[in-house]
């Protein structure tokens, strides 16, 4: 978690995105992003890409049933995050914002 004295999280959005076999925007770019937790809540592997379209076998592999990717103060990325999976797979997220 970002140090609230430095990056106070003012608001958060909690939801999920269904990742398909076509590159899917998991989270759009957000310049107020303070942190982001993405969790693979499905049975299929998800590959995440920062900025570019996601491709099977490239980027960050997130294992099914609990694999996750976290953005915090040490690896802050404001851009869009895309995902792709061989089957329909839900990816839950919680994104904190500075505003």
């Amino acid at each position: 978690m970002p140090d609230p004295r430095i990056f106070p999280i003012v608001s958060a959005e909690n939801d999920y995105v269904t990742v398909t076999a076509v590159s899917t925007v998991v989270r759009p770019a957000n310049h107020h992003r303070a942190d982001l937790e993405l969790v693979n809540d499905g049975d299929n592997v998800i590959y995440l890409s920062r900025g570019d379209e996601a491709v099977i076998g490239e980027g960050m592999r997130i294992n099914p049933n609990g694999g996750s990717y976290r953005i915090g103060t040490n690896n802050m990325y404001y851009g869009a995050i895309n995902g792709i999976s061989e089957g329909l797979t839900n990816m839950s997220f919680s994104e904190g914002s500075l505003s």
């Binding site: 294992n63 099914p64 990717y69 040490n74």
Partner: protein
């Protein structure tokens, strides 16, 4: 909380397999119970099987009819198999009479003659075997020296009970 990718081991497949194993164990347990039931049944049968037994001794004749083997009041159905009498001491000029008796009804006429065998002179082979049949109410085998010197006759009987 660390940042970046975290891929904890996905145990869902293992949990599914554990469920399958648990179900299989239930089936195996049922099968074992069936086998145990069969073993119990078999044990009951084997415990009921008759046991072959043997007893014997030596009888010296005295000129009267003497019991070699007598079971006048069996506890239940049993299977006397045979009586063997050793006639090694028996010589020429001597005669013995072997008689077999059986009781075939409760509280009735008692032991009744089944068969009579007479042996005069040297007996060869020296072992006489009197075969017996299944019995419930009584059986006897007797020996009587009717001619010659009284002798000692070793004997044994086999029966299942």
């Amino acid at each position: 909380m660390s940042e970046g990718v975290r891929n904890p081991t996905d145990l869902s497949d293992v949990e599914d397999q554990l469920d399958d194993i648990e179900a299989a164990l239930v089936v195996i347990d049922d099968e074992i119970e069936d086998v145990q039931d069969d073993v119990t049944d078999i044990l009951a049968v084997t415990n009921a099987l008759p046991t072959l037994s043997e007893t014997g001794g030596t009888l010296t004749t005295d000129g009267t009819e003497q019991n070699v083997y007598l079971n006048a009041n069996p506890l239940g159905v049993f299977n006397p198999i045979c009586v063997k009498i050793n006639c090694t001491a028996h010589t020429a000029g001597e005669t013995i009479v072997i008689r077999e008796y059986a009781d075939v009804a409760p509280g009735g006429a008692g032991l009744l003659l089944v068969d009579t065998l007479t042996y005069a002179g040297v007996i060869s082979p020296v072992i006489i075997i009197i075969e017996l049949t299944p019995n419930r109410y009584g059986v006897a085998v007797t020996i009587e020296k009717t001619a010659g010197t009284n002798r000692a006759y070793p004997w044994e009987v086999f029966y299942e009970i």
